[in-house]
């Protein structure tokens, strides 16, 4: 029942997102596109946190690496190789994550890793703000949405809502990839490491290698999300990878539920919905948004996804109890 309902809900959300430009205001479409990308970004972060038990507070830096790589290459006139540029941005993000992980993961986990990654992301932001070639504080504006060829077909992402639909497709692929990683053998091994690292090592799992691979994959997906975001926003600035960006996936995961694969994505959409609904309440928007988030976190400690699963499980148990009830009745004399 839970799986069927979740599947139906997922299908409905997917349909709403795909059909959104046909009936919604362009501001809402832009927000939905942004939310999809940051949702994928949050999923990549939760691959680390929810599965490998590693907390990075600098994922915004990897997001900005992907965004800047894409922006620089599009500015350089390589829009015809757009799909290759996405792959390149992903590889650059993955390589940087690998380098950080290779150095850091043997020496630090927990709070030390969190602070180290936070410091590195801030260092990157400050460096980007000083490089004139990258536009310094003002960043790179007027990023084009590309036209490119795939075989004999030409794909035009520059007009109308084409780029939005491309993002729907790309984000669906990335979500599918995350799902496959999380629910396959690799994901199960990561959860084993998170639950008991000593026991996993005793059983012969190379825990460092698994964590390093997870760190690299997470960084690569974060960079890929950044690469998708650059032509969507059509501007990148050093603040694209600021501390707020790094805390976004943490907030979304907390809201949606870290124990659920879909938690970060649910959190991203819930947060955007609250922000959009309160956008006209100038001056008190933050208070209202904060109060709602606080209420959600206090009411549902396992996040919205956790609460949903608990509700469905409870209803399922009741139905099963009803069916099983006659067998439990005492025989009346």
């Amino acid at each position: 029942m839970n799986r069927t309902l979740s599947g139906l809900l997922l299908g409905l959300v997917g349909a709403v997102l795909i059909l959104l430009p046909l009936w919604a205001n362009s501001g809402l479409v832009f927000l939905a596109g942004t939310t999809m990308v940051v949702g994928v970004f949050a999923l990549s972060w939760n691959l680390l946190f929810g599965y490998a038990g590693l907390a990075s507070f600098g994922s915004g830096g990897l997001f900005s690496i992907g965004a800047y790589t894409m922006a620089v290459m599009l500015r350089g006139g390589f829009e015809g190789q757009f799909l290759l540029l996405i792959a390149l941005s992903t590889l650059v993000g993955g390589a940087v994550a690998f380098a950080i992980g290779f150095v850091a993961l043997r020496r630090s986990t927990g709070i030390f890793l969190a602070i180290l990654t936070l410091a590195l992301a801030e260092l990157l932001r400050i460096t980007l703000a000083k490089i004139h070639w990258l536009g310094a504080e003002d960043g790179i504006p007027s990023i084009v949405r590309p036209n490119f060829s795939v075989g004999l077909a030409t794909v035009d992402l520059s007009s109308g809502n084409h780029y939005y639909w491309f993002m729907c497709f790309a984000c669906a692929l990335l979500v599918g990839l995350c799902w496959w990683i999380a629910h396959g053998r690799f994901g199960r091994t990561l959860r084993t490491i998170r639950l008991d690292i000593e026991r996993a090592a005793f059983m012969g799992v190379d825990t460092h290698r698994y964590r390093l691979v997870a760190f690299t994959i997470s960084g690569a997906i974060a960079a890929c999300a950044g690469a998708l975001f650059a032509p969507w926003a059509q501007i990148v600035t050093p603040d694209i990878g600021n501390m707020m960006r790094s805390t976004q996936p943490i907030l979304f995961t907390l809201l949606g539920g870290a124990s659920s694969f879909w938690g970060p994505m649910i959190g991203a959409f819930l947060f955007s919905a609250i922000e959009f609904s309160t956008r006209t309440l100038v001056g008190i928007q933050e208070i209202i948004t904060g109060a709602i988030l606080l209420g959600v976190v206090l009411l549902f400690p396992t996040g919205v996804a956790g609460a949903w699963n608990a509700l469905v499980a409870r209803l399922t148990r009741r139905e099963e109890a009803k069916i099983a009830a006659p067998a439990l009745q005492t025989v009346k004399e």
Partner: protein
């Protein structure tokens, strides 16, 4: 209890629809002329955003009291840009999706650079409120946007020129600035203006390289010692916000205002005096975008000043109040004269018109839509006779058009 799937899905769809509803509604342009205001109303930049909002609201109130635009009331639709380009783009797209054709946006450059490329597609007209970055009228120039703000070469070139006129006896100037790349434009412009002004009078001036202080730093004592040791009688400070207050407080212990004959602050204007009260330096020049007392013969300026005192109880409004008021006035005047909301008619109208605003005559250079109004400078300082501990001693105004940088719309200024 049995969970009904159909009921659940219907409820979910209704919920999602309800959330999206405000964005879906397409309001019609009817009895009101709607102007979208996008500014920073949360985060570190909200101080300026709140000034902009106040100034725009004062303008709407004044204009509506005077009959609106050709009988139609003006409605200001305010959105927070969250101090990010994507926040600005979200707000811009939402408002254009709701049929709004007129925009005022300020003030951070990156947020404006996010929306400028979208003006054509949305077929709208925009006034950029208080923005100073050169990129906005040069490499990122958009023919549908007008910058009602002051570029560094204009206001600080004028500043240097004014100091050359007022203090011909000073032949050596020191400069101090925060270690932020963007602020280098300010010291360069001041230095160039100073040199141009002294050369014009047949004299020479030495301008020392700026002493750099850490941005967001807490200890400026080493740098203060350095500039005092430079032997220059003139000093130009370029620090912003809290850094400026900390710096002036620490400089007091060095008796900075006794060591220099002329002290100039870039653009903090009354923020320093309001924060320091009776500990304000004895005499300090500052540039300002608008100072009501310098516009005594300007009825609009007086009215805006009175409206702001009524609104906030503050006799010394920040210059953004005047600039944002005039941004709305510019749009309203153009709509009234053109009788249309179409950018094709509004743009030439704004180029040609020179309405009377709080800042004086609002005039834009046709080539690049840079504001070419007057420049205002104030000298204020410690005053024991005044209850708040400080007073304004002197004001000066210069024609801004004389100091505007070369127009290079569409390409970078070299």
């Amino acid at each position: 209890m049995k969970l009904n799937r159909r009921h659940f899905l219907a409820t979910s769809a209704a919920g999602i629809g309800a959330l999206a509803m405000p964005g879906v509604l397409r309001a019609q342009q009817g009895e009101t002329v709607r102007i979208g205001l996008i500014t920073t109303l949360s985060g570190p930049g909200q101080l300026y955003g709140n000034y902009i909002k106040d100034g725009c609201e004062i303008a709407v109130e004044r204009l509506n009291a005077a009959g609106g635009v050709n009988g139609a009331k003006i409605e200001l639709v305010v959105r927070d840009d969250k101090n990010s380009p994507e926040g600005a783009v979200t707000a811009f797209r939402e408002l254009t999706g709701n049929g709004i054709k007129l925009f005022a946006q300020g003030t951070f450059t990156a947020n404006l650079l996010g929306t400028l490329p979208l003006l054509e597609e949305a077929d709208v007209t925009m006034v950029m409120v208080g923005a100073s970055a050169l990129a906005l009228t040069h490499e990122a120039f958009n023919p549908r946007a007008f910058r009602l703000g002051f570029s560094s070469p204009m206001c600080f070139g004028g500043y240097g020129n004014l100091m050359a006129q007022k203090h011909p006896e000073i032949e050596k100037w020191a400069m101090l600035r925060s270690d932020v790349t963007a602020l280098a434009d300010i010291t360069n412009a001041f230095s160039n203006g100073l040199k141009a002004g002294t050369e014009k009078a047949g004299r020479k001036v030495e301008v020392l390289d700026p002493v750099l202080v850490p941005y967001g730093g807490a200890d400026f004592r080493n740098q203060i010692s350095n500039i005092i040791g430079s032997g220059a009688p003139g000093l130009f400070n370029v620090l912003q916000g809290a850094d400026a207050i900390s710096y002036y407080k620490q400089a007091r212990t060095f008796s900075l205002d006794e060591k220099f004959k002329v002290l100039c602050d870039s653009a903090n204007e009354f923020a320093i005096a309001k924060a320091m009260g009776a500990n304000t330096p004895a005499s300090l020049w500052s540039w300002t975008g608008w100072y009501p007392a310098a516009n005594k013969d300007n009825a609009v300026s007086d009215e805006v000043h009175k409206a702001y005192i009524k609104l906030r109880g503050d006799e010394y409004p920040n210059w953004y109040i005047g600039v944002s008021h005039d941004s709305i006035l510019t749009i309203a005047n153009a709509v009234a004269k053109a009788g249309s909301l179409d950018a094709a008619k509004l743009v030439p109208t704004i180029e040609a018109e020179t309405p009377q605003g709080a800042l004086g005559k609002i005039h834009f250079r046709k080539e690049d839509h840079a504001f070419a109004g007057d420049l205002t400078y104030i000298r204020f300082g410690r005053d024991d006779k005044n209850a708040n501990g400080w007073s304004v001693f002197e004001t000066a105004q210069l024609p801004g058009a004389e100091f505007l940088e070369r127009a290079t719309p569409g390409s970078k200024l070299n």
